[in-house]
Point group: C2
Chain length 151, copies 2
Amino acid sequence: MTTRRFPTQEELRIWRDFIETGEKVRTEMAARLQKDGLSTGDYTVLLALSEAPGQRLRSSELATTVGWERSRLSHHLGRMEKRGLIRREECLTDNRGAEAVLAPAGLELFQQVNRPHLRDIREIFVDALTPAQLQAAGEIMAALREHLARE
Amino acid sequence: MTTRRFPTQEELRIWRDFIETGEKVRTEMAARLQKDGLSTGDYTVLLALSEAPGQRLRSSELATTVGWERSRLSHHLGRMEKRGLIRREECLTDNRGAEAVLAPAGLELFQQVNRPHLRDIREIFVDALTPAQLQAAGEIMAALREHLARE
DNA sequence: CGGGCATAATTGACACGTCAATCAGCTTGG
DNA sequence: CCAAGCTGATTGACGTGTCAATTATGCCCG
């Protein structure tokens, strides 16, 4: 069987659904977090730091942990530092390096926001799907990711 | 049975997978389109206009067609107009109104990019999934969307 | 040792998205 | 008819993301 060159109408519809629904879900979650003064990026960084030993991480480790490009992280840390959520320290073992450290204000805000955020995940995502759909979603995401990685 | 307040570890893992994988897929597609000089937003607008009668649409219709907020569309059309991909015309039946019209350069670029883009959808998305997964993906997106709408 | 390359991180320029404010023109009820 | 309010669209400010260039340091090999 030859590989079809183009997607069918139905495949296209699902692709667009995938993109648009993903956008809507992210937007909704971003709006909810925003009410507590955090962007999704802020939350991601605070979560990673709060789980790190000493609540600090090298910039590059943090970047791979959250799956961001270096420069994106650098810009984001700059904004978070300005707001007092984190601070930066020099790395003792590598003078090129920098460490991001969770600041008290950042920790407090994170703790304040975390439970409501988890509830929102349940409300927006988990409660929308049957257990079978949830599992299928996990498998689909894994398949997409794997496929992307091998290109 | 009482509703659990927080997601389980597994549910949380799937949520994060959903967000991160979606981001990776969109980023990959955006990078491919970018090689031809289009953002995903550009493509969305060009597609909608190219399918519209007279290749023109009122701003507000265009906004609902692509599912964007007005101001987002307005900014985007401004950028596309500057590049000569579209132009704006006044609306005859409503003096407040504006119409976006596909410009020749926009049509040409869209036609040039469309087939490669469709191939990319197949490569990145359709080919990564089994037919069953694809169908499941469609159902999952529908469920999420429906759930969001009824909040 | 030291020149050249790799790596850590930042920066600047620019595209993008959201929010709140604004402006102009339509519409309607007293 | 006209003031009040609604609607279509734009704007400015700001946070965010990407790309390319830059800075500074580490490291390796000749």
